[in-house]
Amino acid sequence: MRIPVETFHLDNGLFVTLSEDHTAPIAAVNLWYHVGSANEKTGRTGFAHLFEHMLFQGSAHVGSNEHFELIQRAGGTLNGSTWLERTNYFETVPSNELALALWLEADRMGELLPAMTQEKLDTQRDVVKNERRWAVDNQPYGTMLEKMQELVFPPSHPFQHSLIGSMEDLSAASLDDIAQFFATYYTPDNAVLSIAGDFDSKEALALIREYFGPIPKGKGKPPLPPMSLPPVFGSRKREVVYDNVSLPRLFLAFRSPIFGSDEYYAASVTAALLGMRKGSRLQRALVRERQIAADAGAFTFDLAKGSDILVVDVTARPETPVAQLEEEVEREIDLLCREGASGEEVQRAIALIETDLVASLQSAGERADRLSMFATYFGNPELINQQVDSYRRVTAERVNELVSERFSEANRASLIYVPREGVESESMLAAAAGAS
């Protein structure tokens, strides 16, 4: 299986990747801007994401919310998302509407600012504050991402602060900030445009030149502060969060090799053999055999700079004390360190990852997104065709090397959620016991 890939550079620096597939009359347009929460200034946490909302509020030739309306009217789906290192915007449309999707993206890349008003900013600020309440503050374990960033990255590291942002910083964002951020980061030379699906490359490229060609190149963006970090934390980290949750849950994080490196693939396989599906180590041992956990998993953040993070995620059964949860999860990690992984479990993990990868590439939107990702991070969208091989090359030996380098005591950070009510009743019991 090979995904066809063509690449082009416009004079203004826009990196274009194209992948034709004519099995259905569908085309996916996907734009990655190489800017995320890591690029935010002090006092403006959450701005990259608030800005993403503003990109749906119209541009020089598009009315407020018209972007959504025009794409849906065309029978398309669309959205955007913000991550630490990038912001993406995407539409999947019937292929005869490809030009519309491209034009809409070009209009907001070229001329967003004429459409920006204080009123729109105020409304989207309220929407984002409600997004924060919904996804973070009023959701069990919803603060995990920001607490984890704070725990595992040193102060002032670009990955350390909250992506959704604090209420105070969101309140402080102004139209001036919008103008500055737009001029700095939303430029063709800081973006990758990908199209996957049913289109003719020549025709698509002509449209891209027509719509995006006139947009001037940017003036460059300020460099990020130094990102690189030692391979291990250096000492144990541990934070307990007493929160409105029903069950204790442990997120055990390890500093791990950056996304895309050879070692990354070994780390990704390690996460899968620990926590992917029922046959994984943690599910087998903690959920099925010992029955101390209600659920177990493991994943990587997939950060391409500085350091990635591998996280083991285990939710306790109601009757499991927090101390036992921590102890038994760490015992499994120690066991892996001591005895190593077998070739068979590495093969199991790779087989599962491979199926997921291939199945996900059925969707044009997914293909376009991965092309943009590899082009943005590594300047090489062809990597989409090398992922399976990179996984297949992982052996038990390489997993065990990774484990011995990265799973030591000095590279473990525990973020533990404990039910607040349980704590209150436990301390009341302790007080009662003390009084007797």
Binding site: Q139, P214, A359
Partner: protein
């Protein structure tokens, strides 16, 4: 400067939902196959007429527990051996029960199809339901129920069903069962449910992807042989409303920063003849980003991150529900807007512009819905579960296109019932109670979370 000239669409390129065969095998099993040539991937979806709506009274959750326990061992392999064998083939079984069917689903690379299907046949025809695993899965379900107490979205959904349907309706209780009903279930209940409902005549195997029809037929005949034949009896479902009077239930969460809102009434069964006008009507009301409810609550007022409405289509009349989460302080004004939008939908014709947005979206997005083998298999399952005609997907777009503004008004008048709306709010009672009472949208009752 980017050109101000908006591009016009090119000529529409034709699309047809994947062609499929539908046959009854000698064993009584129904086989639906859609060969799709794209990537070397296949999805196999087994659908059994053994959904949660069939749970006997007092045994709520047994359908879900049975479907989950299928994976916990067969007469030949233990649960962990099963998991490992599937996973070494690069796949794992997702099994469970919806209201209307039980299902077991795998997606794998096509070169591994034969081994995976043969294993899946074993799972469905020779489950051993080990006692220990039944008890473990019960305990995991109880942990999940406990989690809901602090999860406002799930809690709001569950309480809405409880206050919407009469207590004797299966729909009033969670599909996977309550703490009380699940605690009382035993291995014997699971085995009995399996024997009663998992028959060849009640089972359909759906295969979509990179396969040949001949190979698939032989494969399924072999893998699903030696199974009990015979049809199953349908259980009568009651789905009447708990009350015909409007009422408001606040599930009290002190200091909640948002109120989770659910507003609605008993909706329609899937096979209602007004399905298409109702689908378009709901798209205008709350089914799209550009729908009235979302534009009003999110884009005009900034009350919420999102607001939507939907009919939960089931064999029986599932709920119609408006769903959103708003900042606590604006709970009453948000509810007032929701009620006004429902009234407006019934009062006036929608504009041609609103109609075309909904209609063109539903028509145009059709091919995008079926990009993956899993999505195609799941669409085919709907045909089986709801008894829809074989040309359903071939006629879908024309039927959407034929809905008029008059049809939408008629659907709104027939299928939106503002006088029967039930409101459930998971939020901070002390902040919202008085303002909700003033809205006059029914008596307000406050419940402990």
């Amino acid at each position: 400067m980017v050109t101000a000239l908006r591009p016009k669409p090119g000529p529409v390129r034709s699309y047809r939902f994947p062609q499929f065969t539908d046959e009854k095998l000698a064993s009584g099993i129904r086989l639906v196959t859609a060969p799709v040539e794209k990537l070397p991937v296949v999805t196999v979806l087994v659908v059994v007429d053994a959904g949660s709506a069939n749970d006997p009274p007092g045994k709520e959750g047994v359908a879900a527990l049975t479907a989950a326990t299928l994976l916990e061992g067969t007469s030949r392999l233990s649960g962990s051996e099963l998991a490992e064998t599937f996973e070494r083939l690069g796949t794992s079984v997702d099994s469970g029960a919806d209201w209307d069917s039980a299902f077991a689903k795998i997606t794998m690379l096509s070169e591994r199809l034969d081994d995976a299907v043969s294993l899946l046949g074993q799972v469905l025809s020779e489950p051993s339901f080990p006692d220990r695993e039944v008890e473990r899965l019960k305990a995991e379900r109880l942990a999940e129920i406990l989690q809901l107490e602090t999860e406002p979205r799930g809690l709001a959904d569950e309480k809405f069903s409880e206050f919407l349907y009469a207590a004797e309706s299966r729909y009033s209780k969670p599909d996977e069962g309550s703490a009380e009903s699940v605690s009382a279930l035993s291995r014997a209940d699971v085995e009995q449910f399996y024997r009663a409902r998992y028959r060849t005549e009640s089972t359909t195997v759906i295969i979509a992807g990179d396969v040949s029809l001949e190979n698939v037929r032989a494969l399924v005949e072999k893998a699903f042989s030696g199974w009990v034949s015979g049809a199953t009896l349908d259980q009568q479902l009651t789905a009447t409303a708990r009350t015909s009077l409007k009422s408001v239930h606040i599930i009290d969460k002190q200091n909640a920063p948002q109120s989770e809102l659910r507003v609605g009434h008993v909706g329609l069964p899937r096979k209602n003849p007004d399905f298409f006008p109702t689908l378009v009507m709901n798209a205008v009301l709350g089914g799209l980003f550009g729908s009235r409810i979302n534009l009003n609550l999110r884009e005009a007022r900034g009350y919420t991150y999102g607001a939507s409405s939907y009919y939960d289509w089931r064999r029986g009349p599932g709920p119609f529900v408006v769903s959103t989460a708003v900042q606590s302080e604006v709970t009453a004004p948000a509810l007032r807007e929701i009620f006004l939008e429902l009234e407006r939908m019934r009062r006036d014709l929608i504009s041609e512009d609103e109609l075309s947005l909904a209609r063109d979206y539903l028509d145009g997005v059709f091919p995008i819905r079926y990009e993956t083998t899993a999505a195609i298999a799941s669409a085919l399952a709907s045909l089986v579960i709801y008894g829809l005609p074989a040309d359903y997907y071939d006629t879908y777009r024309n039927r959407v296109r034929s809905v008029s503004v008059e049809d939408v008004l008629q659907a709104a008048r027939a299928h939106l019932h503002p006088s029967e709306l039930q409101t459930v709010v998971v939020g901070d009672a002390k902040v919202i109670r008085d303002s909700l009472a003033k809205l006059q949208i029914g008596d307000v009752k406050v419940h402990e979370a």
